[in-house]
Symmetry: C2
Subunit: 262 residues, 2 copies
DNA sequence: GAGTGGTCTAGACCACTGT
DNA sequence: CAGTGGTCTAGACCACTCC
């Protein structure tokens, strides 16, 4: 076993044993760790890189290496879809009480903070194919960032796409100032006469791009979960596509499948 | 921008332009790349580490650095569950034709290779809580590795847990030589009088442990997708728990949720 | 400015692969 | 054995954070 692996194992074990608690600073690379492990700086740094990739340690330039704080786990279910659909036709007073994300996380609306930005884009090949429209068709792109009020980093960055000509039947849908919308997207679609019958969600994971690592406050080496949600109406047409980016180290997605009885 | 980043960008661009095709060998670290980029070996290696983490380059000790061959994407749906349930009561001849993984991937049974290992374990707190049995209860742990016949790395490593006293009602279930079992787990459960009514799947992602990176042939830096599948029978009891580990860079999971009509 | 991490060098030696 | 990547060293200098 290589020296840097032994050092990484040693540090990992010392952290697990509680020698340094979450949020605490590790000894400095130079001179403390190099002296303690009788290794050169590059070797110490290679060991720390292993721990950073595992998400055990946070490296902060100019300050030090810190034991990573566990972050609040975020759960996302697929039962939220039926739940949201059931609420879409209820009066505003009821819809205003809570949203699907609050339903999943067990929080109240005031615990969460939203940020919404809208813009018009032209459908690329990917989106045009999904919506069944020509490339270049005007789409409404809505970007959201959701975070806990008490944290400063979003746990969810998403982009939602609608065909602009469909959405404009209700001008309020084009206005970001109307967000957060009580009742969520399914109520929005209800106001323009659309009922969803099926939602398809595709999940993949990969290392974050530099931009994503920045947005979600994750280190390179902690993965991002990508969710593409495709909403079908009762005619089987695609009416909404969303791409959601979530930090892999604090997100759990739950999908429940009911089976027909024999 | 750091020198190693510039070198990584340069190499990435040369690979994208087709200067070296998938499977081809890059110039040697020493002396070729160090000379070409006028950089020291550690700097060249840092640049290559970036490309390896992105999955662009495969590093092979003693041979060289190679442009990574794209691997076959593996798709896993949740429709497989109902599909498998529908087949569970069909005659063996029918069940033998194809399995759920083949259903998802569009392959035939002969394209896939299985490896199964069984052992008895005692329920830890986690599993005991799920099954609703005392800690220490005997469980049957079945470990599977699934791969394409033409590749040498599994795309799926899974462990399935059953309560041993429940499984032993059919002694064949305790025998790894009976695998692969035509009709899959749902038929196995059928032979001991169990019908599933609901399947819950929890998805998370994280960096691979050293062992997982080894098993799935992914480099540290490419994430693993973890799926915990919990099967409930018609009485709402947990009858099977599976933990599936998949390489994040080649797996896509698709979950479809049907909504009740208004 | 002191402390600390980030980058880089030049070179040595080990470990693995294929001839 | 030659070729190639893997590990490690000692030390220099730069960049960021905080006082």
């Amino acid at each position: 076993m290589a020296k840097y692996e032994k050092i990484a194992d040693g540090l990992r074990e010392r952290i697990r044993s509680g020698e340094w608690l979450p949020g605490e600073k590790l000894p400095s690379e130079t001179p403390e760790l190099t002296a303690h492990y009788k290794a050169s700086l590059p070797t110490i740094r290679q060991a720390l890189a292993v721990l950073a990739a595992e998400g055990v340690v946070d490296k902060v330039h100019g300050r030090g290496n810190y034991v990573r704080e566990p972050r609040k786990l975020v759960v996302r279910t697929n039962e939220r879809h039926q739940w949201e659909k059931d609420r879409a036709r209820q009066p505003e007073e009821e819809r205003r009480k809570t949203g699907a994300t609050e339903h999943d996380t067990g929080l109240t609306i005031s615990d969460l903070v939203f940020d919404a930005r809208f813009r018009d884009i032209e459908a690329n090949k990917d989106l045009a194919g999904l919506f069944g429209v020509p490339v270049g068709t005007q789409l409404l792109e809505r970007s959201y960032r959701t975070r806990y009020r008490e944290e400063d980093t979003p746990f969810n960055v998403s982009r939602s796409y609608l065909v602009r000509d469909v959405a404009k039947a209700n001008p309020d849908l084009l206005n970001p100032a109307m967000e957060p919308w009580p009742g969520g997207t399914q109520h929005q679609l209800f106001t323009i006469g659309i009922e969803l019958s099926r939602i398809e969600e595709r999940v993949t994971a990969r290392p974050p791009t530099a931009e994503e690592a920045e947005d979600l406050s994750i280190r390179a080496g902690v993965s991002v979960l990508l969710l593409r949600k495709i909403c079908y109406d009762t005619e089987g047409r695609v009416v909404e596509v969303s791409d959601v980016t979530m930090p892999g180290d604090r997100t759990e997605m739950v999908f429940t499948t009911s089976l027909n009885r024999w």
